[in-house]
Structure formats: C-alpha cells, structure tokens
Subunit: 323 residues, 2 copies
C-alpha cells in the first residue's frame, strides 16, 4: 500500500476544513483526469479538453519508475523524544563530510547530545552543547565542501531564473545550484536542508554539529557552508520546537534543550525498524510535469497564476511504503 | 532605553554558543566603526579603511528619524496562552478588509476562537472552527483587495530582480510588489505576512479567518489573497505550535487547537497595557544601507557573498521602547 506524505502544501486557504466526502469525490475525478493525461490513446475529438492536472493528479498517475527509495546506507534517523527525523545525505555533493558524519554516527557520537539552538525562521541545530565529547583524532579539521565538481551527476534545471546562482535545479532529488562556467555545483539552503555548523575558519565544520533550515530559505549561506543532505520526513519535529531565547536562538538553560535519543544509519537497523520511504525522482517526466503544475496553478481557487517558481518552493514529494 | 529585537537572523552558524564577553567586545568595536561611517568628518587619510558595517552596526548608528512607532490604531494584539502576537495592519493596502477586521475586533468577535490549522512550512490560521459565531449582517461578502492602486504611498524598490513580480520592495515597512504598467501594488507573502483565508469565491474572504505565513514565502499566493499586514512581534508563538495532523494541517480534535484569549486593537487598551514597538522605516537611508549590507555580507564568517537578496530575506527590524 502506498500513502502520500508531506511536502504537499495545499493551495487553498479555505475558511474551514473541507468536507471529506466532497474532497474525496473531487480527488477521484481528478485521478481519472490524470490517468487520461498519461494514457496513450488520444482524447475523443469532440470532448472538451480536460483541465490540466494538479500535483495530486500527477503523482497519482506517476509510474513506479518515477520514484526511488531513499539510499538507506546514507540515510540518518535522528531519534527525538517526539519521534524520528529522517535525513537523506548526499555523498555525491559532499563526500568527505558525509563520510565523517557517518563515522561519527557509527561511533554513536550523537547519542545523548541535544538540539541546542532553535532560531525562529532560520535553523534548528544539534550537537554537543558542552563540548565534552571528544571528536576522534584526525577529524577535527576537514577541508570544506561548499562546492563540488558536478561530475557525472544529472542536474535537472528549473526553467526559471534565480537571483542567487546562474542555474538552479535538482541533483538526485536535492535542490541544488550550479555555475556552468566553473562546472561547480552545490546544494541550496531550502527548507529542510541539513548543513554543517562551523566557526569562522572554513575548515572547522567537521559534521559533529548539524542544523536544519526551518524558515525562509537563507540562500546567502549557499557556498558558505557544507550542505550534506535534506530532511525527507519529520522536519516538523524540529520546526515546532520552542525557540531558544538566548542570542542566536541558543537555549539559555540546559533543561530547555531537546535530548537526542540516538542517531543511526537506516542500514544499521534491522529491516523491521526502518521507515521505508521513496522520493520522487527529479529527473523523471513526472517531476517535470509537477514543476509546471506548480509554476502555474490551475485549480479553480487561483485567480492569478505566478508563471514562475523559485527553487525552494518546488515540492519534492516523499511517500511511505507499507507492506 | 531601547532594546533591539527580533528579525536579526545572525549570519553565523558557530559550532557552539558565542562567549558573551567576546561577543560584547566585538559589538562595541563594531558600534564605533559604524558611528565612524555615519560621522561627517572624512577618515584620516593614512588609516586603513574600516570594514563596512554589518546590520547591527547600521542599526546602532541609525538616527531616531529612521524609526517609526507602530500605528496603534491599526495594530492587533492576538493574545494566546503563551503570550502576545503583535500584528500591524496596512489599511493603505487593503482598506475595506482592514476596516472589516477592526470592526470584528471591536465587537470581540475573535475572543474565545482558536488557532485551528498549523501546516508545516506554510501557515498558522485562526478563526471560528465550528462556524458558530455569526458574522455580522452585511459582512459576509467583501470584494477582494488582492491588489490596490499604489496612490500616494511611497514604494521603495529593492535593487534586485524578482521572479514573481515586475518590481518588489517595501511600502511603509511592509514587503510589497508592484506592476508599474498597471499602477497596481500588493503586499507579498513573506514570512510573518497576515492574510485573509477564503473559499474558492474571491469575495468570501471577509477577515473573520486569518493566517500568518510560518514557512518559506508562498509567493504563488500573491494576488490571490488579500494580505492585510504583518506580524511585528511574536511570530514564534505561532510558528512553534504543534502541526495539525489532519488534511492541510487542520487539527483533528478540538482539544488540539490553541485557544485565543482575545484580540484587541492596541489603541483600545490603556497605555500601560500596550507593547510599544518601533519599526525601521523602509524609506530611510538606514534601511538602504541595511539592504546593501545584507546583499553582500561583509563579516569575516562569509567566504562567498551573494550579491543579491530576495524580498523575503530582507529583515525589517523592530525594536521595543522602554520607559
């Protein structure tokens, strides 16, 4: 069984909760329309053209090949008292830093540490608040991976221009940017991006302190921080934490911090303990259709279509697989 | 006494909390640098040029005329159990809708209602979850104010291009957009924007149900909703609420909703009960300097400067006045 998950920010701001039966009926009709769009046969010539599909229709009609499972050997489970935050790492975009983080995770470095900073409209950050846990020898410094050569990775460009980078789009379902002149690419600071906290020294970000973006995309951080991946599920467990009231959103008192139960690689756990997720492939025709549906919202609620979408407003759908 | 307040999203992602003494010393030096920048005398010719000021320096050196008090006759106090959310309305940008809301507030319409929807990375919405409270006669329908003629209002343009609108900038310290060809302007859906929930009928948004943006700017809503103002203080009381788990972030159970103690106009309260705030004037030279300091971050931490800022990343500082 498949169940559609988060990242579906609904268009409507209806005054009240939509009636479930009516909504279901609309969805059923929309699904039929969507399957018509993806069917091979042409529409009957006399029929009026069906309305263009919305995101839900497009996803309902997506072939299995439009999805890929998360890479469980590079997926972290950040276990908080309120539940599991699932972060997919992007080793292609920050190979050494991702390797560092995975080494720390295998050594159970993060277990018992804490979310120590939550700054409104910015980041939730976790690590060792008292700096009591020794970072292993040889891991104290790490050359930054603010950018990487794009190499063999597929870069799917968005059709719209961006103010922060010459080109923006997606690499393996991660929001990214690139500079064709230099051949360099980097992950972009969109909502849910996970980056590596550092001091002024660019080599001071080892991966022992991480943050997730919980506000409007702070794109000015692009190319200033090593971004290592993105929260694929459970960002709301970080974004709804109480904000720290000390400087920069740090918590003034230890008791205010949220303890980290553990951080594990998905592949370390027995199959029964894993959360099986799939993410939409951003190099799929389904994703191309989805981007267009979001650039110009066709549902009746919209009076005005943007004709544009900024990188961090593009949803990258995730779904859970149930046996 | 003046105390600087929120909207100062710090640049750094330091591994640990900055030492307070050191931070204070840096701030003191920076303030001196900033006052030098704003002083009339030229720098001594032999001295190396001082580093360009950052946001804190610019604000520290701002003249009193760069600030204006909130318009208390158009400022709402949304009182929640956790504290006060302060919303400044923009009657120039939505005159009839703002008047409607203020009439409802004077009638104590919102008292005892609830925050009924919190959708992650989107909006927190409040109103009458059971639709039991009658909206007064003649207020059930209201022509939408998605855009307004700009008229005599000062529009301060940002130097950078925007994907969603021909021009973006600020009107009276509210993020806004305009189309010079049509002469129309509208408030933009940045973090903290307050808009009017509506059904598919564009005239169904009366102001009896409102939302605040608590995620990445959903600019596709621009010109589709009447935006009436912005949260000037206390957005974290909305953005840190638990997310609703029903469709579109609605709460499935009444007990999950956050009750609204009351909504009052600041001007209705005795002076001692008001929160006296000032907002930076976006038509001031101080604001121009601030925008440039944010387009190109000069602090040592930054390795790469964006040379760009998007509308919703521009901070609009607010400060509290204490007697």
């Amino acid at each position: 069984m498949l169940r559609m998950m988060h990242e579906q920010r609904e268009a409507g701001l209806a005054r009240t909760r939509p009636r479930t039966a009516a909504a279901a009926a609309v969805a059923a009709i929309a699904a039929l329309v969507a399957s018509a769009i993806f069917a091979a046969e042409p529409a009957a010539p006399a029929a009026p053209p069906p309305p263009p599909p919305g995101m839900a229709d497009i996803l309902a009609a997506a072939p299995a090949s439009a999805w890929r499972p998360l890479d469980e050997s590079h997926t972290l489970y950040l276990e908080l008292p309120a539940g599991r935050v699932i972060i997919e790492l992007a080793p292609a975009m920050a190979p050494r830093t991702v390797a560092n983080i995975e080494t720390l995770v295998r050594q159970k470095y993060f277990d018992g540490l804490a979310v120590l900073r939550v700054q409104d409209n910015f980041v939730a950050q976790w690590g060792d608040p008292e700096e009591r846990h020794k970072i292993p020898e040889g891991m104290q410094k790490l050359p930054p991976e603010f950018t990487v050569p794009l190499g063999a990775n597929v870069f799917t460009s968005l059709p719209d221009r961006d103010g922060y980078a010459p080109q923006v789009g997606f690499v393996d379902s991660f929001p990214a940017a690139r500079d064709p002149a230099s051949g360099l690419a980097w992950l972009a600071h969109c909502y849910g991006a996970v980056g590596v906290g550092r001091d002024t020294d660019p080599a001071s970000g080892t991966g022992s302190e991480l943050y997730a973006v919980i506000g409007h995309a702070p794109r000015q951080l692009d190319r200033n921080v090593t971004v290592v991946g993105r929260v694929r599920q459970g960002i709301e467990l970080l974004s709804s934490l109480p904000r720290g009231t000390a400087e920069m959103g740090f918590y003034g008192k230890a008791a205010e911090r949220t303890p980290i139960t553990s951080v594990r690689l998905a592949s370390e756990l027995p199959a029964a303990s894993r959360t099986r997720l799939e993410v939409l492939r951003t190099d799929s025709p389904t994703f191309t259709a989805l981007v267009e549906a979001r650039r110009n919202r066709r549902d009746e609620w919209y009076q005005s279509r943007a004709g544009y979408i900024d990188l961090c407003n593009v949803p990258v759908p995730v779904r859970a697989l149930h046996d």
